[in-house]
Amino acid sequence: MTINIDKRGTGPVLDIDHLKVTFATDAGDVYAVKDVSLEVNQGEVVAIVGESGSGKTVTAKTILGLLPETAISSGAVLINGNNVISVSASKLRQIRGRDVAMVFQEPSTALNPVFTVGWQIAEGIRAHAGGEGKRVSAKEAKARAIEALRKVGIPDPEDRVDYYPHQFSGGQKQRVVIAAALALNPGLIVADEPTTALDVTVQAEILQLLRDLRDKYGTSIVLITHNMGVVADLADRVVVMYQGDVVEEAPAKVLFAEPKQGYTRKLLAAVPHLGRNSASQGMTTRAHQDRKVLVEAKGLTIEYPGRLGSPSFKAVDGVSFTLSEGEVFGLVGESGSGKTTIGRAIAGLNRTTGGSLKVLGYEMLNLKERTFKPLRKEIGFVFQDPAASFNPQLTIGDCVAEPLVIHSNPTPAQARKRVGELLESVQLPASYADRFPHELSGGQRQRASLARALILNPKLLIADEPTSALDVSVQAVVLELFKDIQQEFGFAALFISHDLAVVDILSHWVGVLYKGKLVEQGLGTQVMGDPQHDYTRRLIASLPVPDPDEQARRREANRSLLAG
């Protein structure tokens, strides 16, 4: 232990030198990391940013020696003088937990549901010998687990140490994962997308916690993320990766202020920035109110039946809104706010249980599939995950043509022609109709998904988080396309997202959902610029902006709001 502390004072905590990682796959070798060198000093937060496929997660896994068998790596990853790539398995076990620990993306799967959190934290402590090579007693391990929980700000750690993971909320679970990482006081924590699975308000808390760890205990953090806002909020230094190579490395402030490489500039430009490029810019009153109302909800309530003996769960609670022809309505909310439930109810995928929901004049409260079916051709739906929303056995052309085939029975030549037109209008070559879904990239698939939703020229389009599975640069392109097509086709759209900035770019009118209630609605600029409801204020304050200086100012200004 003493040796570690000495070393911490002098050299870098982590030194990666010319790292290469290659995977053997069915399609041949994949060079996931081509040539990466970086250093992390004591008490420094280094962010590795990049889009999917850039090799950032593989780099992080190499630091802990967690690569699968099909991978081979070369180069050096030095942690306190030990090369992780070449050390023996038993030495590697000693390094893990003591010198370096990992925080995973999804806290609910990183914790074992059948053990108490205290046991799981103590597991790491007991795996490493105590002071003079002795085993740590159960009692002492528990005491240290309580200490770790207190460090990460879990209230009443003495009691909560015996709780099971399901008794914690998502944010608290991530705190527990961080506590387990901290239990042995490692000099370095590798956090792989630590806030991606969390809501923005919770994300702000976890970022604050990580910042405190660095300030109080001098822990170094390697932060893997794709979110530029998170980088701006936390990182001291940023490493930008692209297709397995380091593109640029610079202190955070320098990188955001004057990015040198073209790729970094493109990446930063693609990040949606709250308050810029708003769709409701310059509007003073709600648009399209003279047109026909397509969707009208009055006191809409949707309940999911509870289990025997427990009350039913109200996912949507007395929500009222209207959506007129040609209008884009943005619905924002965190997970569990009921936004997706509303979208699905409009498309007839969920049943409503109370109030009134009229879609194109049809009362959804007594939905009968047979009578609703003719209306379905007026409604398009874009799903969140473009990979899962296409039948893997059919070609893109067959998938896109499906609505046409069901509703109008065209000849194959007609269908083909129409599919070609639609693919062109979402900026895909018509020849892509012969490809299979897995042969397209995520962004291309989502465009094809848009083409499928639009093939019957619907009056209403429901888009449920259409860009949240995409990389930022792809997201920017898809959003731009969506905006253009909406103007060209003139359909009304219900745009559902958890991301305020994204909603603001597209929507004329924005509604904020919180725990099933519509707490605020108004013009995009009004809701974002001058939020009335406390929750909306908190939501906007939690959203990190991709600019370190501005984010630091916002953090200070909103400290009281976030604490409350």
């Binding site: 053997a24 069915d26 070369s74 969140q384 296409f390 056995q393 499906e402």
Partner: protein, 341 residues
């Protein structure tokens, strides 16, 4: 994982048809021990199939032949001479009975497995997709059949169908139907579980939103995706079908020796011979059963492993040129490390 190859298609749909066929695509994917297992399984199964197809050419005598131009066959003659594998107590030629037996076995497998796949898939699709009381009743029936020992069910079915007596067709049908009854619940459960999983997939929901009818969703979207595992169950069940058929024959519910050759029946006849040191009447039909079952099981198991990207062995990635790992020593170590060898 951020490697670009997370989407794992089972086979490139545009590769040539031959390379996409189940067994051939698996062979191309395999390395090391897994390839060895697959090849051993393929050879045994291939030998079994060829024997069955060319039985009339291969077998020196008919399955119920007791004499030729030289007169009656001697009983219990040791292997050698005119009768390569000897003769049974009844005077049948063992080699001919073993070869003709493969034909009976394959007919039973084909009929049994095809019937159970056909019925099991339809019931599974409908039950899983529609759900409700229909699903509950079908699941209870399937569970009830599961609860019986499969051989017992097969015996009962054999008695019901043929009254214990049998011609060639009657015997094969009786054996096949009794095996079918045992197997339907397996296919039913697999397809039902897949259907329930697929029902919640976005692509099925997107078909629903578009207004596709239930029959269209079942036939176009779920059917193809749910039946991917069938070739695997097929090979595993084929070996089980052979064992059930042999079991039926051994217990006396099989096919009479005058109407077809059947390994289980021959084993039963050979039971009394063992004490008098006559080994050839029992060993050869037994060996034929064992080799066929081993072949089919090896093939099924290795296809199972190859279908799962996590179990499939791969050649190690070759390291980039000029890197520290490209020295001769590392290369040798890599070759030694090729998994499964």
């Amino acid at each position: 994982m951020t490697t670009p190859t997370t989407v794992e298609p089972t086979a490139d749909p545009r590769a040539s048809l031959i390379r996409r066929l189940p067994v051939i695509s698996h062979f191309n994917k395999s390395v090391g021990l897994q390839r060895g297992m697959l090849v051993a399984g393929l050879i045994l199964t291939g030998a079994f199939l060829l024997t069955a197809i060319f039985a009339p050419l291969l077998a020196p005598y008919g399955y119920s032949q007791l004499s030729d131009a030289d007169g009656n066959f001697p009983a219990q003659q040791a292997p050698g001479g005119k009768h390569l594998l000897g003769t049974t107590v009844g005077g049948y030629d063992v080699l001919s009975r073993v070869i003709w037996g493969s034909q009976t076995a394959i007919m039973v497998i084909v009929v049994a497995v095809l019937m159970s796949i056909f019925i099991g898939v339809i019931l599974g699709l409908v039950s899983g997709y529609i759900g409700g009381w229909l699903d509950r009743i079908l699941v209870v029936i399937a569970d009830a059949i599961y609860a019986f020992p499969s051989l017992l069910v097969a015996i009962v079915m054999a008695i019901v169908i043929s009254g214990g007596q049998s011609s060639l067709l009657g015997g094969i049908m009786a054996a096949a139907i009794s095996i079918t009854v045992v197997f339907i619940p397996q296919y039913f459960r697999v397809i039902r579980a897949e259907t329930i999983r697929l029902k919640a997939e976005p692509f099925v929901e997107s078909a629903k939103v578009v207004g596709a009818s239930n029959i269209r969703i079942m036939s176009r979207h779920i059917y193809k995706n749910a039946t991917r595992t069938l070739p695997l169950i097929f090979t595993l069940n084929a070996s089980e079908a052979i064992l059930t058929l042999a079991g039926l024959g051994f217990l006396g519910f099989g096919i009479e020796p005058s109407s077809a050759a059947e390994w289980g029946f021959d084993l039963k006849q050979a039971l009394a011979d063992t004490t008098s040191g006559i080994w050839w009447t029992g060993v050869f039909p037994g060996l034929a059963t064992v080799l066929t079952v081993v072949g089919l099981t090896l093939m099924g198991e290795s296809i199972n492993d190859l279908n799962d990207p996590r179990l499939r062995g791969r050649k190690k990635a070759a390291s980039g040129k000029g890197g520290p790992a490209s020295t001769a020593g590392t290369q040798a170590a890599l070759q030694a490390e090729v998994r499964g060898s």
